[in-house]
């Protein structure tokens, strides 16, 4: 019976590993195929000839290097701004006693449930009024704002799990409100910050619709818009587009690999008491 259950466990795990990895492997193989016709005739096999030129086309035609820099600026700045605001908000909600703080947390966290499409018109209007249309700053502000609910939710939970005694000791040593935040809570919240930051980074890196809406020129476009360079109204060069996609997902994977331990512990922080 034990052997059977063990075998079953491995079958299930291998099945889900296959389901998770197969699309990535398929994407990688498709990015090396000659053209759409080969993709159509041989969708699941290895390329007849490995077309590295697809990657060259992706880099040159879609101008990926400059878009790459824009995406890096946007993603890192959005993470920084998001964590700055979310950590201060979370500190107050998790560590201070005041009336209605649970209501406040619920209202902020409810933002997680709202579909992005519902923000499109208001954000477009706000950015136009701020005269930030077609700028990287517009994307930085919007991405950091969209991620505030999830970041506050995670950080509040994380900061709530830090023992009060540490803050009390700091207070006895003369630490004020700001010092408690900067010298005690922030250093102890690095795992939570890494988790929230990673979520914000991946969102900012992969986001398409706001980037399309809020930018227009090449000087402010991000990678996700570059990928769409290979589509047109009636024709799509899938192989070059897949090559561009492979290039763009690498940073997300790298960020996840660097922070994955912190993400897991950050997500589970505050889940149990003790």
């Amino acid at each position: 019976m034990k052997v059977f259950l063990n075998t079953l466990k491995w079958i299930i795990l291998i099945f889900f590993l296959f389901v998770a990895l197969y699309p990535l492997i398929w994407l990688l193989l498709a990015s090396f195929k000659a053209n759409n016709l080969e993709l159509q005739q041989n969708p699941f096999g290895f390329p007849e000839k490995w077309m590295f030129i697809n990657y060259y086309n992706a880099m040159v035609k879609a101008k990926l290097p400059s878009l790459f820099i824009h995406s890096i600026i946007v993603a890192f700045s959005a993470v920084f701004l998001n964590l700055l605001v979310a950590s201060m908000t979370s500190f107050v909600i998790s560590r201070e006693d005041f009336k209605g703080k649970n209501v406040l947390l619920t209202v902020i966290a409810a933002g997680i449930l709202l579909p992005i499409i519902s923000f499109m018109v208001p954000y477009f209007t706000i950015i136009q009024k701020m005269r930030l249309y077609d700028s990287l700053l517009a994307l930085i502000i919007v991405y950091s704002a969209i991620n505030i609910p999830i970041s506050v939710f995670l950080l509040t939970s994380f900061m709530g799990s830090i023992p009060v005694e540490l803050e009390e000791a700091a207070t006895i040593d003369g630490a004020g409100f700001v010092q408690r935040f900067t010298k005690v809570i922030i250093p102890l919240s690095q795992t939570g910050l890494a988790t929230a930051g990673t979520f914000c980074f991946i969102y900012s890196w992969n986001e398409f619709i706001m980037a399309l809406l809020l930018t227009s020129s090449e000087s402010s476009r991000t990678l996700q818009l570059g990928i769409r360079f290979f589509t047109s109204q009636f024709v799509t060069d899938y192989t070059a587009m897949y090559a561009a996609i492979v290039i763009t997902i690498i940073p997300s994977i790298v960020v996840y690999f660097i922070f994955h331990n912190k993400i897991i512990s950050g997500l589970t922080a505050g889940a149990v008491k003790g």
Binding site: N35, N36, L37, L39, Q40, Q41, K61, H70, I73, V74, F76, S77, F80, L81, M120, V121, F124, T125, Q128, R131, L132, Y133, D134, S135, L136, L137, A138, I140, F208, I209, L212, L213, T215, S216, S217, E218, S219, S220, L225, R228, F229, F230, T231, S232, Q233, F234, V235, T236, D237, Y238
Partner: protein
Amino acid sequence: MRKITFLVLSLTLIVAGTVFANGQQEKDKEIVLKWPSIWVGEDSKAGVVAQLVEQFNADNAGMIKVEVEAQPDYDGYEQKIRTSIAAGIVPDIFTMKLNPTTKAYYDSPLLMDFSKELSTGWGKDFNEGTVAQATVNGMVKSLPYEVAITPVWYNMDLFKKAGVSKYPRTYAEFLDAAAKLKAAGFIPTSQMTGGSNAWTSMLWYSHFLASFGGPDVYANPFGTDAYVKAAEVLLAMYSDGNTSMDAIGGDAGVSGGHYLAGESAMFINGPWYIGRVKTEAPAVYSATEVGPAPAAGSQKGAMIGFLQTNFAAAANADDPEKAAAAVKFIKWMTKAENVAKISAASGAMFAVKYDSSSISDELMGKFINASNDASFTIPHLEGVVTSDVITEFGQALGKMALGEATPKEFVEMLKKVQDQ
């Protein structure tokens, strides 16, 4: 270390804010017109359109400059235009498909009405009836530009290999030909339920509607007999191996791909697809003929034709110079010789009168003949119903093809959305 990190990140933010917040900068005097354009990147019109914009900018240096904002993703582009107009901001120049959904744009005072400009003689540059099609309540807030017909493309090589000597003109002939094609290992028709509008199948359905309902089919209430009969024929296209297995859920890449690969014998699309067939599948290009769909009803030789893309512009009521500059640019784009250049390069057809003798493409000539030979022309279904009906079309078609809905139920599903 933390202070340095903080400083570096702050600096990044400031740099991003100052250096890259350049979108709203304005140059002195020169009128800058922003044009979010879909004719960029891989689009067949991209090269010539870029040259025309460049030439216009050179001719008007220091006075008018058209800046093209590349929008290669068409669905995203439509979303952006919708959001912009909903937010009360209209691009200086843009293009749109005119359909019942986008006709709502005509209610916006933010869009320029071209009717006055057209009445000064410009209107004579357009083919008869096209401006009328773009007129709503006396206003022409989108100018007819690209037009299209979507005949059936058929691969005569496959027909011959299957022992079919001529293209089927009736439904009975179609069934006979389909049986022979299947026996020879070919897929009779390319279909698709996916994409935002189930494009290929929506066009097949439009052809059958024309055959059952005649030129005035759309004047009849939605869901009448012709709609159900056309759905029955469309279902037959999805049955008994008359299309590929991947048609359910497949997108334009799937339906077009089977035709390009020489696997399917019949397919529907517009002239913009000519360039791709020519370059990717020259053998298929040589074997391709075009014509009306096999007549399933009493009406024969019907064609689907429509305004494909219209030009539109911001009214700029508070800035008449900018409005005049937009008109000047659109007039430039509708000049006969410029339209001829775009047509020759891309195979696209236009609502503007132009000399098409420079078009040497053989298949394009077949398109023009098919248009001339049509007994009558109606728009496709997408052009006469709201976008939510077309979104439902693909869903309902998938359901019908899977045997979960009858043709009558398929039509009722569409009617329900239409009535809402």
